[in-house]
C-alpha cells in the first residue's frame, strides 16, 4: 500500500533525480545488495586477498615486507620439510577420509534400523563432535603419552606387549595416532549427515525392492547407494576439506613432531608464519594448499552435479 501510494505521488510530480532513481528497479536492486557485498568484501575477499599478497612478499612480524614475486614458492619447492608436509597432509586426508566414510556409513545404516536405545546411541555417536577439539586433543595426548598411556597399560597388563608403545615418538606411530584421533572426531559428522540422508529414502522403495526379489545386499547396492550418492558427495567434500586444513588436533597433540613427521601444511604454515615470524613464507605455504582444495571441490562439484534422474518434473 505504502509503496503504491508513494509511486502515485511520484507520478504526480516528476521530482528530483533522487526520487526517480528510487523508482528504477536496477538502482534499487543494487542498493539492496550493498550490505551483503560489503560484508563479503570485508570478511571474505579482503583476508583472502591479503593472504595472497603476503605470500608474494617477504613480510616478517614487526616489519613491512616488499614484493618478491614467486620467490617464496621457489624456495619452498626446494624445501624438503615443505614436501614432507604435503605428503603428510595428503596421506592424512586420504586415509582418514576413507575410514571416516566407512565407519560413518556403517553407523548410519545401523542407526537407521530399529534398535533398542536408539536415541541414546545416536547421542553417544554425536559426542565426539560436541567436545571442543582442543579438549579431545588433550585427551588423546594423554592416551598416547609414552608413560601414562592407557592403551599401553592395558596391553601390558593383558600380557600382549612388554614395553610401553612410543605413540608420539616414532614417525609412523605418530602419523597413525593423529589419524586415529581425527577419525574419532570426524565420524559423527559423517554418520549423522548420512543418517539424515538415509531417512529421506522412502521405506516403500525398500518394500518394492523386497517384492521385486532383492536381497539385503542388492537393496543396499541398487537403492541405498544411488539414492544416497548426492549426500555422500556433499558430506565427503566437507570431510575432505576439513581434514585437509586440519590444524587444532595436530598442533595440540604433536606440534608437527617427531622430526616433522606429522606436520600438515596448516601446522607448518602456522609454525613458519607465527612461531618463526616469517609471515610471507607462512602465507605462501597456506596458498599452496589452494590448488589441492580447488581440485577437491571440483571433483565433488562434478560428483554433485544433479544426476539426470534428479532433474526435471515436479513431485
Amino acid at each position: 500500500m505504502a509503496v503504491m501510494a508513494e509511486s502515485a505521488v511520484a507520478q504526480v510530480k516528476p521530482g528530483s533525480l533522487w526520487s526517480r532513481a528510487f523508482e528504477s528497479r536496477n538502482f534499487l536492486g543494487a542498493m539492496f545488495m550493498v550490505p551483503a557485498i560489503a560484508i563479503l568484501i570485508l570478511f571474505l575477499a579482503y583476508p583472502l586477498a591479503l593472504g595472497f599478497w603476503l605470500g608474494m612478499t617477504d613480510t616478517k612480524i614487526g616489519g613491512a615486507g616488499r614484493y618478491i614475486g614467486f620467490q617464496n614458492f621457489i624456495s619452498l619447492s626446494k624445501d624438503s620439510v615443505f614436501w614432507l608436509s604435503v605428503f603428510n597432509t595428503i596421506f592424512y586426508t586420504v586415509f582418514a577420509s576413507v575410514v571416516k566414510f566407512a565407519i560413518g556409513l556403517y553407523l548410519a545404516l545401523l542407526l537407521n534400523e530399529r534398535l533398542p536405545f536408539k536415541s541414546m546411541i545416536r547421542a553417544i555417536v554425536l559426542l565426539p563432535f560436541v567436545v571442543p577439539t582442543v579438549l579431545s586433543a588433550i585427551a588423546f595426548w594423554w592416551i598416547y603419552d609414552s608413560q601414562f598411556s592407557i592403551i599401553s597399560w592395558v596391553l601390558v597388563k593383558a600380557g600382549l606387549i612388554t614395553r610401553y608403545i612410543d605413540f608420539l615418538g616414532d614417525p609412523w606411530n605418530a602419523r597413525w595416532s593423529v589419524i586415529a584421533a581425527n577419525i574419532w572426531r570426524g565420524v559423527p559428522f559423517v554418520a549423522i549427515t548420512l543418517l539424515a540422508g538415509l531417512q529421506t529414502i522412502s521405506p516403500s522403495l525398500y518394500e518394492a525392492a523386497n517384492l521385486d526379489g532383492a536381497t539385503n545386499m542388492q537393496r543396499f547396492r541398487h537403492i541405498t547407494l544411488p539414492m544416497l550418492s548426492p549426500i555422500i558427495a556433499v558430506v565427503m567434500t566437507f570431510s575432505v576439506l576439513m581434514t585437509f586444513t586440519d590444524f587444532q588436533l595436530i598442533y595440540t597433540i604433536t606440534r608437527g613432531g617427531p622430526i616433522n613427521a606429522t606436520h600438515l601444511m596448516a601446522t607448518l604454515s602456522f609454525q613458519r608464519a607465527i612461531t618463526g615470524g616469517n609471515l610471507g613464507e607462512g602465507a605462501a605455504i597456506s596458498n599452496a594448499m589452494i590448488p589441492f582444495l580447488v581440485a577437491a571441490i571440483l571433483l565433488s562439484f562434478f560428483g554433485l552435479q544433479r544426476s539426470r534422474w534428479q532433474q526435471g518434473g515436479r513431485d
Binding site: S202, L205, E207, A208, L211, W309, R314
Partner: protein, 353 residues
Amino acid sequence: MSSVQIRDVRKSFGNFEVLHGVSIPIEDGQFVVLVGPSGCGKSTLLRMLAGLENITSGTISIGDRVVNNIQPKERDIAMVFQNYALYPHMTVGENMGFSLKLRNASSDEINKRVKRAAEILALSPLLERYPRQLSGGQRQRVAMGRAIVRDPQVFLFDEPLSNLDAKLRVAMRTEIKELHQRLKTTTVYVTHDQIEAMTMADKIVVMHDGIVEQMGTPLELYDKPENQFVAGFIGSPAMNFLKGHVRVNGVATFEGPNGVKLPLKNAPAGSDGRPVVYGVRPEHFTIADDGADAEIIVVEPTGSETQVFAKVGGEQVVAVFRERHQFNPGDKVRLKPDPSLVHLFDEATGKRM
C-alpha cells in the same frame, strides 16, 4: 495365476488387535476389492498378503502353498503402491526390468518382456524417461508395468488411484479393469472409494473395524446389504436411514419420526412394534400423491440427475431424480419410497431383517 485363501487371519500391533479373524476366499483370476473406511484394516491385510507384515494368527495361502513364513520375494506377487514407489534413479525401462534383472534374466529376455508390458500400457515412448519426468497417470502406469513384467501369481493394488485427479481416476479405473480382463491374473485391490469397488470388482469385501461386514458381487451388496453399515457404505449418495417402528394392522407400514408413515411391501415375521431402521436409497424415491410430506431444503442439479435434500418427519433425507422437476427450497412435496426396494434393519443389531 492362483487362488488365494485367507483363513481366520488376525493381526495385532502390541496388545492392540486390528484384524479380528478375517476369512476371504479368492478364486483364481478373480478381481477382489477390499473396501472400507480408513482404519478398517484393509491395507494391513493386503500388506500381510504381500509379506510386508507378519501374520499374528490364521493362515494365508497362495495357490496350494501356505505363505505365512515365506519371504515376500518368494511369494510370486507384485504390488502397486499408493505412492507408486518407483525407483527415482532408474528409467521407466529399468524400473520395469528391475525384478527380472535381480533374477539374472538375460538382457534379451528383460528387453522383450519390458517391451511387451510397455506396449500393453502405452508406455513405449517413455521407456528412457525418469519417474520425475512423468505425470501422475504415467507413473501409475509404470507402477503397473513393473507388476505386469513379473507375470506374478497375484497382483496387489494398494489404493493406486488416490493420488490422481478425479478425471484421470475414472480413466485409470477402466484401464485397470481392462488390463485384468486381458491378463486374467488374480487381483486384490484395496480402496476406500466405494465407486471404485463397485465399478471394478468381481467380488467386493466390505471391511469395518477389522472384520468383514459382507462379501459379494457389487450388485448383491447394493441390492441386499446384510447390515446397516454396508447399506450406508455402498451407494452414492448414501442410503437414507429413518428410525421408527413396524406397524402391522391389515397392511404393513413403517411409522417413522414424528408419526410419518412410509410404505412397506411386507413386514418380516414378528416385527410388529419392533424398533427398526428404515433404509431407502435416494434413487428409489418418487413424487406421488400418497407419499410422505416433505419440505425441500436444497436442490443440487448435476445435469444428468438432480439431488434434492428434504425434511421428512423432521429428518433430513436425500432423493435423486433422473427426470427434471422444478423444485425450490421451501416447496412442499410428497415423497414416496418404492416399497419393493426398501431395506429394514434391526435397530439394536443393525442386521438386515
